[in-house]
């Protein structure tokens, strides 16, 4: 089976009309007609992850995020970049091929990135979650205790919180990656991967600082982009196995980049 045939099967099974104009969900590098020896699903095509996939004999990488350090994987300004050369040479030399599934994963039911994110932060019942699962209710606890549970459960080293640790919280709004949801009056805690800190479409950080100053029980937890969408790529691999039977499929995590 070729990488192109794998992608055709994914498109057929994903259950949503394919957006041909997506700049994200395309082949990034390698020959689509390469015979697939094994598939690695991953949150992001890091160089380190590519080496581990190759060592495991997996030559097709299905990645949720970019390969060349910008969202569009635009390589126009990178052709003379030594790291770009090194990474592309490694991929081509080892007969690997990289394909990204981002937009369509988020449009799918369930959105496995959110399914995985809910499981990794320890909120049960998210097996069928879509990209915007709505307000979730957890047993009332303090924001500090909840944040500690999220850190333990997700293993995020560089997790960041804003808000009053003593605030009583129970209403949670969660989003994957950069799609950190906007805080709302009826929500206590927003969980996301990352978000521009200020001067964006909505600045949760300043909003929560001010809400806390007004005595409102609110908090934000930023898990980190990799951590927030990592676990779901294992679920995505499990889903691939329901219609791809003849090729090994393995989840190869991207490492959290922070010390």
């Amino acid at each position: 089976m070729t990488a192109r045939e794998v992608v055709e099967l994914i498109k057929k099974n994903q259950g949503i009309p394919w957006n041909q104009r997506s700049t994200r969900d395309t082949f990034k590098i390698g020959n689509p007609d390469t015979t697939v020896k094994g598939i690695a699903t991953t949150m992001m095509t890091t160089f380190d992850m590519l080496k581990r996939a190759n060592a495991a004999g997996l030559n097709m990488v299905i990645t949720h995020e970019d390969t060349f350090w910008n969202d569009r994987d635009d390589t126009q300004d990178l052709t003379e970049n030594p790291l770009y050369k090194l990474k592309t040479e490694y991929i081509l030399k080892n007969d690997m091929v990289v394909w990204r599934d981002h937009d369509h994963m988020h449009a799918m039911t369930p959105d496995y990135t959110v399914v995985g994110e809910l499981r990794s932060v320890g909120i049960p019942g998210g097996e069928h979650a879509t990209m915007r699962p709505g307000i979730l209710t957890i047993p009332e606890t303090t924001f500090g205790e909840f944040a500690a549970q999220v850190k333990r459960s997700s293993g995020a080293r560089a997790l960041r919180c804003v808000g009053d640790p003593k605030a009583k919280v129970s209403k949670i709004l969660i989003g994957p990656g950069y799609a950190t949801p906007r805080m709302m009056p009826e929500v206590d805690v927003v969980i996301g991967g990352e978000q521009q800190e200020a001067d964006g479409a909505f600045d949760n950080m300043e909003y929560v600082l001010d809400a806390v100053s007004l005595g409102m029980p609110k908090g934000v937890i930023m898990l980190g982009h990799v951590i927030s969408e990592q676990a779901g790529m294992e679920d995505f691999g499990n889903w691939l196995r329901t219609f791809l039977h003849d090729v090994p499929i393995r989840f190869v995590p991207a490492e959290e980049p922070y010390w």
Binding site: W69, A158, A198, D203, D210, M216, H225
Partner: protein, 292 residues
């Protein structure tokens, strides 16, 4: 073309006004006249569509004192009111989005936090003006030199036109520990790359760094200290460089934190522009914490 003409005329007018401003007793020093003086000193166009401008309060208010800040949070505004500083110059938005309460986006005029903040500003007689683009565009970019001073590196600048500093060599880990302690940081500081690298050349980049800048500059230095980057772009690049064996590190300290020293420098500069009332800087601090 038409706007350019108007702007030039307005600019001449502003310069003229700055010239007569020291005439004492000609009336109260209003927020508008302070801003006009700042505009004249900083120069350039001040288009209505830009981020810089009045965000809240009455521009005709008599100014008793000026506060500069990286971000006019409610806590900052409370401190300003207490210190009798009723004109606040902020680098970042006040109303939680780039539109800053004037257009779409953000949290809406009916939001309880937005309403409470507006009420506090009104009740306290404060005026908030955003001063970002023009302060940053200044030839003596104090957003950079301010951060260097806060880190104790001001004297180590390699070239006055650039933001590279050559500091006494230390490991990336030790350099990160020094940054953390100098800037009093908590969870807002995050580092990626080679923690064992020897750091001598550092690029300072307050604010938000694009991938293109990262690709262009990272290999020139041992460490980049930026305000914020996108993890799946720049941080990913630093991680891949580490895998490739490059002995470098990327440190992000938080966008607002990275902008604080530059706004502290702005307060000092203001004292040379507005002598009638005191100007002080009010810090926000690292907003992030991490559970054990």
């Amino acid at each position: 073309m038409r706007r350019a003409d108007v702007t030039r005329r307005r600019f001449t007018l502003l310069v003229g006004m700055a010239g007569v401003a020291p005439v004492a007793g000609a009336g109260p020093l209003t927020a508008e006249s302070v801003v006009q003086r700042i505009q004249a000193r900083l120069g350039g166009d001040w288009p209505e569509t830009g981020p810089d401008g009045f965000k809240a309060g009455d521009a005709a208010t008599a100014v008793k004192g000026i506060a500069t800040t990286a971000m006019a949070t409610l806590d900052v505004l409370k401190q300003a009111a207490k210190a009798n500083a009723n004109l606040i110059l902020t680098y970042e938005p006040t109303f939680y989005s780039r539109a800053d309460g004037h257009g779409p986006g953000g949290f809406g005029a009916g939001d309880p936090v937005v309403q409470a903040k507006r009420q506090f500003i009104e009740k306290s007689g404060l005026v908030v003006f955003r001063l970002r683009d023009h302060w940053q565009a200044r030839k003596e970019n104090e957003m950079v030199t301010g951060l260097a001073s806060a880190l104790g590196w001001r004297a180590h600048r390699v070239n006055n036109k650039d933001a590279v500093y050559e500091i006494p060599p230390a490991s990336a880990e030790a350099t990160v520990a020094a940054i953390r302690s100098r800037l009093n940081l908590r969870a807002g500081l995050r580092a990626a790359g080679d923690r064992k690298a020897t750091v001598r050349r550092v690029l300072l980049f307050p604010g938000s760094m694009t991938p293109a800048t990262m690709w262009q500059r990272y290999s020139e230095v041992d460490m980049i200290v930026a305000g914020e980057v996108r993890e799946w772009e720049n941080t990913h690049y630093a991680a891949d460089m580490f895998t490739a064996g490059e002995k470098r590190a990327l440190v992000t300290i938080g966008r607002v934190v990275s902008e604080e020293p530059g706004m502290r420098a702005c307060a000092e500069w203001l004292r040379t522009v507005v002598k009638e009332v005191p100007a002080k800087w009010i810090g926000v601090g690292d907003p992030y914490w991490r559970p054990a």
